[in-house]
Symmetry: C2
Subunit: 401 residues, 2 copies
Amino acid sequence: MTWLDLAADDPFGVHNLPYGAFDPGDGSRRLGARIGGQVLDLAALERVGLVEAHSTLQATTLNPFLALGRPYWTAVRDRLTELLTDPAFRDRIQPLLLPLAEVTPQLPFEVGDYVDFYSSLTHATNLGRLFRPGAEPLLPNWRHLPIGYHGRAGTVVVSGTDIVRPSGQRKPPDADAPTFGPSRCLDIEAEVGFVVGAASSLGRPLTTKDFHEYVFGVVLVNDWSARDLQAWEYQPLGPFLGKSFATSVSAWVVPLDALASARVPAPQQSPLVLPYLADERIGYDIRIEVVWDGTVVSRPPFSGLYWTPAQQLAHLTANGASVRPGDLYASGTVSGRERDQVGSFIELTWGGAEPVTLADGRTRTFVEDGDTVTLTATAPGPDGTVVGFGEVVGRILPAVS
Amino acid sequence: MTWLDLAADDPFGVHNLPYGAFDPGDGSRRLGARIGGQVLDLAALERVGLVEAHSTLQATTLNPFLALGRPYWTAVRDRLTELLTDPAFRDRIQPLLLPLAEVTPQLPFEVGDYVDFYSSLTHATNLGRLFRPGAEPLLPNWRHLPIGYHGRAGTVVVSGTDIVRPSGQRKPPDADAPTFGPSRCLDIEAEVGFVVGAASSLGRPLTTKDFHEYVFGVVLVNDWSARDLQAWEYQPLGPFLGKSFATSVSAWVVPLDALASARVPAPQQSPLVLPYLADERIGYDIRIEVVWDGTVVSRPPFSGLYWTPAQQLAHLTANGASVRPGDLYASGTVSGRERDQVGSFIELTWGGAEPVTLADGRTRTFVEDGDTVTLTATAPGPDGTVVGFGEVVGRILPAVS
């Protein structure tokens, strides 16, 4: 039990303790841990000697701390838990707590490489139907390997960043030539992202068993997608400008250690995977909510994903590719089997053919200028608690003319 | 004329002055400029006050210097030229010159995002024929936009780094299921890479006219490719593990300013491109040589590429995506029309069907363990000089078992 005045069901209790970066209001950038509605100033905490992590907590991004590896992650987490539960520390900790409302969250880590997978069977099937009508929706490779691609790391932005509607080329099938202009099919993708901590060596693949040693924590991801740009550009080398304008992530990285009680069996796979992808079939019971201008329009269940994050890490490095602190790999759009469980609007409205009605009566097909989309999520914590994720919120600004 | 004892036709004369990073032998990392067979220690040069660039020349990568922007790039280049041509500086400069043979080149910049284009009409047509036999080789979008995708920035390595043969999944068309093992079709891609200097703002596209302000210089790129892995994985999201194991770059970044005399008209485009891609049709007469274990097997001409680097930059940012100092975008495989001008071995040997014979009589289809592949290049410099590029050399080590 924490000595802070926190409700037992607060999703940001001591059982969670996610890490992030914030601007306290003076334009600087500091690391912090979120506890309830407050932020513990980790830079100050280390400076006064209450925690020790080789000065990495005084950096402006989590990357140096991530690079220390699992023994340090555990030691610092244990220490923070002690400081926030033993009342003997109350008087020294309290001055280091800032109200969340008075700080501005920053991107918590410098993104190394950003990889986006495609691991929901339902999403891959739906997109196959929408992008390649008349053809077999699931390609022959899909059940043999976690399909993925590299996204743009430099345009990963923190929750709260406004998103300018992208322009680009699009060509409807019945047009003779492409035109250039603002995307007419701006979409979201609700995903779960895994933040790599420890570095691996070039030429040395990791295995599915290495997941816990190399992955530090989890963020929510909204991989904004311009479907009209994507449809015209993506053959043969994959999505590019249809995705690269922005990817929003939550401001608080939930440590893997906070998700031990959220582990659930992942779906069995058929056909059997190749040995390098064999794993313990551990999924995470992360329940996402997609909120479109105030209306909950979908509740994608992460637990049902076909490919697990451990398999994704093993696949990502199977060719000897190395990982670095700050690498981010996302699950791909989380879509459950039901229409109100899908993680993208192209699925929700079936390519725009079946508009959704918001709570106030407005209808929507794709995201309009001024719309705000928010992703939130929770997962089971220890002893009946709930682990909260920071929200991912983004508002759409009109295209640059 | 430099006061150094350099041949007039030295491709690394004062007309070139490429930048890089090196280890002088003590495990440290310093910036330098190459002049002939020597390296000018830029960190020391700035420390003693002979050049001034806000201490960025004392960093361990070029990124802080790149971020200063074109006015500083020009000022520092002008100053280096002065120091190396005015004999009054000889006695102060000479102690700061190290023999190239006594230092170890390092990756010159930390790679932000790595984008690989696909801008050779011949290469795209050849690959279309090889990967999608029986279908129209060039997809409908190819002449309307420079097709590209994001590669893995964290596995960009400097010339001289050994390349471990990647393993992965591959499935021949007649097999029932994929197998996992070392790639049997390890290939190269000879490319020209553009190093972004100045940062742009998210949401604000650049134009083709911004090329000279934002791009600092040029490296040679070997985008190693495992064709069997690529063929099985690349649908629908593009190349991933078939490419992400390693990309080699030359150690010396040739400033755009050194290539003014290499500018040549780029091929005219038909159909006309959309207005945001209209440019001055400026190509660069960079002549690449591909050397396979000592035998020159190809001479790809960069000047013939359909899409120019100015168009690539405008396209890359057309959706509002920002660029950062250290971003690298490569041309895609440079293939001329003739068989001895192609930039990949899958083209040279037509998918392995037509082996090449090396000078010593050995034959090759794809790259074998122990093989060394070297790319070199030259371009016309001012007053009849030649601009040399640093080589890109890589030797293949056997797969990890």
